[in-house]
């Protein structure tokens, strides 16, 4: 699934490690989502959307 995570993270000046800590996941998980190798669970997708202050459809595109 396509996503805008890398751009949104960069806008905020957060590193992958930083975002991973805020989400309580590993840096590898953030990296895999950004590279569109891994589609997160709904729970994690909502957590991401809340953290970035965006609706979930602004983050992920089927």
């Amino acid at each position: 699934m396509k996503n805008a995570l890398r751009a949104l993270r960069a806008e905020r000046g957060w590193s992958q490690e930083n975002l991973a800590q805020r989400l309580d996941v590993s840096r590898q998980t953030v990296n895999a989502i950004e590279r569109e190798k891994y589609d997160p669970s709904l729970e994690l997708a909502f957590k991401l959307a809340r953290l970035l202050g965006k609706p979930i459809e602004a983050l992920f595109e089927p």
């Binding site: 309580d24 996941v25 590993s26 590898q28 998980t29 990296n31 895999a32 190798k37 891994y38 997160p40 669970s41 994690l44």
Partner: protein
């Protein structure tokens, strides 16, 4: 069965070290020492109990992982479990026909190698997500 407390990864390593030590001692004792039946039973039991602690520690570690790491573990096990069964079945069949595989005389000598398909499975699963 309660394992000792600590970080999940530390627990896995310490219980694995205890299991390996107990198993090596059990091997050494069975080959080189003349022990009474009760002591032999205790030596064998120690190896089994430490393996039990190791299994509990592994479950705790998996529960502490995030969702991607859990998926990697699941895919690794999905590869490793049937592969291990296949290898053991193949060695068992050859043994039944009187062949010795890679110098292993008995099936019980082969089982420590069962960890190899797990590590191959982890490597293959990670390739997908990196």
């Amino acid at each position: 069965m309660d394992a000792p407390t600590g970080t999940p990864r530390g627990l896995v390593l310490s219980t694995l070290a205890a299991f390996v030590a107990c198993t090596l001692f059990a091997l050494f004792a069975s080959e080189l020492l003349q022990l009474g039946p009760l002591v032999r039973l205790a030596v064998a039991g120690a190896a089994v109990v430490t393996l039990g602690f190791f299994l509990v520690a592994v479950v705790r570690l998996v529960r502490s992982l995030d969702e991607l790491h859990r998926r990697v573990q699941l895919e690794a096990l999905a590869i490793a479990y049937p592969t291990t069964l296949l290898l053991l079945f193949a060695v068992g069949q050859l043994e039944r026909q009187g062949f010795t595989v890679w110098g292993f005389e008995r099936l019980r000598d082969v089982w420590p190698l069962a960890v190899v398909p797990y590590f191959v499975g982890v490597a293959l699963a990670w390739r997908r997500y990196r």
